[in-house]
Amino acid sequence: MTASDTQTATTPSNGPVEVQREARLARFAVMTLGPIAAAVIASGLILVVFGINPITYYTFVIERGLFSGLGLEQTLTRMAPLLFLAAGLIVAFRAGIWNLGVDGQFLLGAVASAALAPALLGVLPGWIVLLMGFVLAGLVGAVWSVLPALLRAYQGVNEIITTLMMTFLGVSLANVLVKLVFLDPKTTVPQTRTIPVPDRLPRLFDSTISSGLVWAVAAVLLVHVVMTRTAFGLKLRTVGANPHAAAHAGLSVPRLTVAVFAISAAFAGLAGASEILGVNGNVRADWNPAYGLMVIPLVFLARFHGVGSIILIFFYSALLIGSESAARRVGVPQDFTLVLVATLLIFLGLAEWLDHRRRKGGG
């Protein structure tokens, strides 16, 4: 805290670039690592209340999620859908759009790819099938955002409510599609036809890590560069910062709004495809991992920064994998991760507030 205080205090706005850079890094460390540490400790205290030794729990989770060979591979594989979702959320949030409907877009994208791939395998070469699965999932995701997009762009209807509605609708529609339309007649469990393991996304090297990870990382980096370094990104950020100013500057705000929705939802659809074509191979009825609501806080914590999001999602993914086996071994339900993310958000908010107050007081 003190390091960053003195740094920012002694750095004038036109100071040397390196000093500014250092100050920014220090501030980032305090503003990001501080809340993480506070959240880990506060959640640990909750474990103490339940009579669980938090050190045992955290050690187990870290060992399982990060330092066991298979655990690390699972962690990296789990990152792929989370990263695609993050890419979509970064676009939307930077453009000031609250796309809270990513879970519906994700599920329908997943169902679309799960329906298409088994039907085309054997007809077309494997890589074309996978590519088409991804494209279709992205399209379906985008289509699922058209209504909220048009309502927001041309009628001014708040997108929080409409995207939430579309998620509820999407979850049910995905179930209807799985149970009635794309049902695998050969199994008793209601699920879509399973894509054979060799036909799924190739695995990386000699590991079990799905290559979806590579595309997901690329997607986040691409989004980051487009949003921060291109004219198109600047337009979107202008719309997000001040739609009236954007309209005055001659930007077509409604059109850009629709574009943001479509891009954001398409990435959510890709996330679904990466989970199905890379890992699960089919969609079971009532399957809904609800990744979306969990990724939103992480993207916020990274302040919409691409690389920051990748790092945070890596650790979150390790937490998910580690806590899954901790539920069996240490006896703490996996829902503990929800508590950890929630406390993290609260401490993040408090850190921002302190920072805001300190700057206001200083300036």
Partner: protein, 311 residues
């Protein structure tokens, strides 16, 4: 089609509309108060689930359903107090903190339930029914409308009181000022932060009560994640009702009916998949928004924190 119009079907549909609709009504009324005051309360789902757990725990340990309702209100208000502190007092982002509180309350109640009851789901004794004389004896609508738990009637009285208060008292005007133009209210000597805090706490109490109703009356037990999006439906109801409590009631009954239509259809011997029917209310909302979207008006300062002197 004629089979659908039997007395058994209508009766179970009406019962379902009320049993599933009351929690939505309570949540919607609560959310409406927050939104009027300019706070978009996304954390309401968390308030409901916390109210459901605390309400159930109180009712289970004291063997009094009424103390259970009080516990539920307290549970909702605990989460609401956090929301008020972070979003109203400190001015943090209402949507992010709201999602955080919902996730946190869901996770925490799941942990609490796990360490208290392990894998068991103890049941409460069947709830009290208040049979209104004569009316209960009416065919079809009698038992479903007039043989319900007293909380149902209290919720309906709540609609009337709120409608009156918003229209006829200063409360309605003050809330609107806090939501439309907080700076004007501040200049006029009103206390924006205090009013918004009170509104959020009221939301918490109502949402907690709704959760407690779900656990103690509708289900008779607590299951983690049992609110299943009811809070979000409450948000939608409040947004569509444009500030009118009676519209929240109508919406809650329609959603309640749709959510329980599957049970009613099973009574009638029809076998339409649950998921198709669960889509109906949401599809209806989208349709309404497409047709009348321009009119879905929200308070001007909704979602914006108020800081005196800030532009």
């Amino acid at each position: 089609m004629e089979a659908l119009l039997t007395a058994a079907f209508l009766s179970s549909l009406l019962t379902g509309a009320i049993v599933a609709g009351i929690p939505l009504l309570l949540a919607g009324l609560g959310e409406q108060m927050s939104e009027k005051a300019g706070v978009l309360n996304i954390g309401i789902e968390g308030m409901m689930i916390f109210g459901a757990y605390l309400g159930f725990l109180t009712a289970w340990s004291t063997e009094s359903i009424w103390l259970g309702f009080l516990g539920g209100m307290a549970g909702g208000m605990i989460v609401a107090a956090l929301m008020a502190l972070l979003c109203v007092r400190l001015g943090l982002n209402q949507i992010v903190i709201g999602i955080g509180l919902t996730l946190g309350a869901e996770g925490l109640t799941s942990l609490l339930h796990h360490f208290q009851f392990s894998r068991t789901y103890p049941r409460l004794p069947a709830p009290l029914r208040l049979d209104l004389p004569i009316l209960t004896d009416l065919p079809v609508i009698g038992p479903s409308l007039f043989g319900r738990h007293p909380m149902v009637y209290l919720a309906l009285i709540g609609v009337i009181i709120l409608a009156w208060a918003y229209r006829r008292t200063n409360l309605g005007l003050t809330l609107r000022a806090a939501g439309e133009k907080p700076a004007a209210l501040d200049v006029a000597g009103g206390h924006v932060v205090l009013i918004r805090t009170a509104a959020v706490l009221f939301t918490g109490a109502m949402a907690g009560l709704g959760g407690a109703y779900m656990a103690n009356v509708a289900a008779g037990l607590f299951i983690p994640f049992m609110t299943g999006g009811a809070g979000f439906i409450g948000i939608v109801l409040a947004m569509l009702a444009r500030g009118r409590p009676v519209w929240v009631l109508i919406g809650a009954l329609i959603f309640g009916a749709a959510l329980s239509l599957t049970t009613a259809l099973q009574v009638a011997g029809s076998n339409v998949p649950t998921d198709v029917i669960q889509m109906l209310p949401f599809a209806a909302v989208m349709l309404v928004l497409v047709i009348w979207g321009r009119k879905a008006r929200l308070p001007a300062a909704l979602g914006l924190s108020y800081e005196r002197g800030a532009r």
